[in-house]
């Protein structure tokens, strides 16, 4: 039990940070005591990453105070964070594959005498550090590229110890691990904390936080909604409310009941992708919104991408309006009237330096062309129609997509498929990086498209979003469809229960 007896290590008060006018942090408080595991919980885009980067010296806060062992400090760069004793383990581990474990651990503070590396000393100290972490069996001269993700994390932790870290920040360390490896990670974390080192553990997996966390802070939309709650005394329901905290009824438009004789537009039968998911079956009728709910890594995005043909299914079929599509062919899917809005809008969806209208017509410019010669005037007009219909801002079709907000970039993708005349729309995280106000607009658009007869499949890591948008929900866990329910018959804790039972089985 962590209480006031433990020395206060880090005290962050009212931290703010904005990027180019976007407020990423609007007032975050965080107090970390020596020897505790302090979990930071928040949805995607809540500001967790920005908080970490501010503490590790990558970003400078605009406002607020950082007290380190009671003294106000400025963390001007990553080196000064390390000098204080704050080490960070990023999700995409910053180890160098081509170097040995020992070389990685002493990277940037190499042991040397008169410029000559003391390889033997480095190896010996590396062995000590690894032993302390319960991995004394790994030879320090092993090349890091040959290690598993789990062992790379150990290397990263050993590096933090080599710097005499008093606080180690771990950014979703379990995301790349299987359940056995997670157990081992927790064991190592407990060893660290028993020697007085504090761990800030970032995750959105509630069940892990229950297992490893002492106290918990919640961030929502860049603001602290709770700081330093005791994990054992806070019910999951409260955590979810603190994390999402919105008035569900006001945000989600009413669903229009789907007539039972509405034609089936999308039929997915026994779809399998080895290593990702198995035997996914469902149909979507015209006007229906089907949601896939599940945790990160459950296979939801892979299912969507496989339906679209961006990944080649191991077996199973996808049919649009009764016609089976060629497996693994995006072109076949698009030709059949399917549209897809990918999870990573900027890297997978848009050509950021091209104007809005060319992004809108990326799937259809050939249709406006005659004999291979483009008709940009017709393209601009089609884009203008959609800009007006979707209230896309700015309304100038020649503005580069890069200059638009997340919500308006999402509208470009919707516009693209509207111009195409899509009947089946697959949306992966349609509101990621979209602020709350614009979310309601995106939700309204999705419902409007459904009302006009489009079949829609939505994937979101926000369970609330899936439940609020969808008519029917498929709960996905570890690549299996755990349950299919009408949206009205299931709530968030049911979904979480199903997912946890599914992963325990």
């Amino acid at each position: 039990m962590i209480d006031d007896d433990h020395a206060l290590l880090l005290d962050v008060r009212g931290m703010t940070k904005s990027f180019a006018g976007v407020h990423a942090l609007k007032g975050v408080d965080l107090t970390v005591r020596a020897g505790e595991v302090h979990c930071v919980l928040g949805q995607n885009g809540a500001g967790k990453s920005t908080l970490i980067k501010t503490l590790s010296g990558v970003h400078q806060p605009d406002g607020g105070e950082i007290l380190w062992q009671g003294q106000p400090v400025t963390i001007s760069d990553p080196q000064s964070a390390l000098d204080l004793g704050i080490a960070t383990m990023y999700q995409e581990l910053d180890v160098v594959d081509g170097l040995t474990i020992a070389e990685n651990i002493f990277l940037g503070h190499e042991l040397s005498r008169a410029g000559v590396l003391r390889v033997g000393d480095a190896n010996r100290r590396t062995r000590e550090l690894l032993t302390r972490l319960g991995h004394g069996d790994i030879p320090p001269s092993t090349e890091v590229g040959r290690l598993s993700a789990a062992t790379k994390q150990i290397v990263s932790m050993a590096r933090a110890l080599s710097r005499d870290a008093k606080l180690i920040i771990m950014d979703e360390p379990s995301a790349v691990l299987d359940s056995g490896e997670v157990e081992n990670l927790f064991r190592v974390i407990r060893e660290l904390t028993s020697s007085g080192i504090a761990v800030v553990y970032i995750s959105h997996r509630l069940e892990e936080i229950r297992q490893i966390g002492d106290r918990i802070s919640v961030i929502k939309d860049g603001r602290s909604t709770a700081s330093g709650l005791a994990v054992s005394e806070t019910p999951t329901r409260d955590l979810i409310r603190l994390m999402t905290g919105r008035d569900v009824e006001n945000v989600f438009p009413d669903a229009v009941p789907v007539p039972s004789n509405a034609p089936i537009l999308l039929e997915v039968s026994y779809l399998n992708l080895r290593g990702s998911f198995s035997d996914v079956n469902f149909t979507v009728r015209a006007g229906e919104v089907v949601g896939l709910a599940g945790l990160v890594g459950s296979g939801r995005s892979e299912i969507l991408e496989t339906i679209y043909g961006a990944r080649k299914a191991t077996s199973g079929t996808v049919a649009v309006q009764g016609r089976t599509l060629a497996s693994g062919s995006v072109r076949a899917a698009v030709a059949a009237g399917m549209g897809f809005s990918p999870e990573e809008r900027k890297s997978q969806g848009l050509i950021l330096d091209e104007p809005i209208f060319k992004n809108v017509t990326l799937s259809t410019f050939a249709r406006f062309a005659r004999g291979g010669v483009l008709n940009e005037r017709a393209e601009r007009n089609a884009a203008r129609e959609q800009i007006a219909a979707l209230e896309l801002r700015p309304d100038d079709p020649d503005r580069p997509a890069r200059t638009l907000s997340g919500g308006n970039q999402q509208k470009i993708l919707l516009a693209r498929w509207l111009v195409h005349g899509t009947r089946v729309l697959l949306l992966d995280e349609p509101t990621r990086g979209v602020d709350v106000g614009a979310r309601a607009e995106i939700y309204a658009l999705i419902r409007r498209l459904a009302a006009e007869g489009t079949a829609i499949v939505v994937v979101s890591s926000e369970i609330e979003e899936v439940l609020g948008l969808a008519d029917r929900v498929l709960v996905i866990g570890d690549g299996d469809v755990l349950a299919t329910r009408n949206a009205g018959d299931i709530d968030e804790s049911d979904v979480l229960d199903l997912v946890m039972k599914g992963s325990a089985a």
């Binding site: 990027f19 180019a20 006018g21 976007v22 990423a24 920005t50 679209y308 961006a310 995006v330 072109r331 899917a333 698009v334 030709a335 009237g337 897809f340 990918p342 900027k346 890297s347 997978q348 969806g349 848009l350 050509i351 950021l352 330096d353 091209e354 060319k358 990326l362 799937s363 410019f365 050939a366 062309a369 291979g372 010669v373 483009l374 089609a382 129609e385 959609q386 800009i387 007006a388 219909a389 979707l390 209230e391 801002r393 700015p394 309304d395 100038d396 580069p400 890069r402 200059t403 693209r416 509207l418 111009v419 195409h420 005349g421 899509t422 009947r423 409007r448 498209l449 006009e452 007869g453």
Partner: protein
Amino acid sequence: MSEQKTTILTDAEPLPGASQQSDRPSALKRFLGGSAGRNLGLVIALLVLIIIGTVTAGDRFADINNVLTIIRYASIVGVISIGMTFVITTGGIDLSVGSVMGLATVVASLSAVQLASAQFSWLLMIVIALLVGAAAGFVNGMIIAYGRVVAFMATLAMLVGARGLAELISGRRTQIVANNEFLDIVRANVLGVPVLIWIFAVVAIAGWFLLNRTTFGRRTVAIGGNAEASRLAGINVKRHLVYVYTLSGLTAGIAAVMMLGRTTAGTSTHGTLVELDVIAAVVVGGTLLSGGRGTIVGTVLGVLIFATLINVFTQNNLDTSVQAIAKGLIIVVAVLLQQRFATRGPSSGRK
């Protein structure tokens, strides 16, 4: 597919005066960063070179025949540069163009010699040169697109391989092209302008049209801008890359025909290091090496700048080593200026 949906949606109320965002760069910077501004910079650079040439070499430089010499010299590199502009716009590179051109001159001239008695048609020789170029480009494209080999390595292999093949086929001997009909046509003047320059002009105009006005050009820019987004939008990225590298090979084939006409010989050493001149001209012209932006007008200006530079140096009897240093400087300065005026900022992501 229902076109109907689009029309329903337009019934929505019109936008209330959407506000312009304040993060627009200043008008001057926008102009200099835009394509017109970039080309203007190149025109100014060219004018400066012309003034230097006129001042230092006077009548010899400003003579119409000298001007035609400059452009004629530029035309072979120029034709290849047009194909290279497409390749670089996709974010790729083609290092093999010089040796592919050499190979094409060898194969075409050898066929001409071997079939001379059988009334070899000069047209067939041209076709063979073009086919050799296109075939080499096609192989490049297949290896890059379907074999997923980095363009730099795939075309480097072709650079070495094609040169070796050319040496093997020719036995390192130079084949003289003796077909007078062919030579008369390639070395003729039309309206006072050499045919080589006409070929360059036609290829440049066709290239401009292809890049800016056709679906082919749109796909090229889109793939260079974001290959994954293009794929997910339904563009056949791999097939298009094969087309683009084939196009690049084809321009090397056209250049081979021009080379055969100009030098009256086919040899495996034709085109050695030409790829460097070509890439320099394209990049100085304003096409981004990272892909997504290509400019044919810029490429033509880049080619002319280098050709004029060489001519100015030659007219003043300056050492070729000094020429090389000046070329190096121009490349660096041009790229530095490009970065200064490039409108694309650092990625404005929140994380």
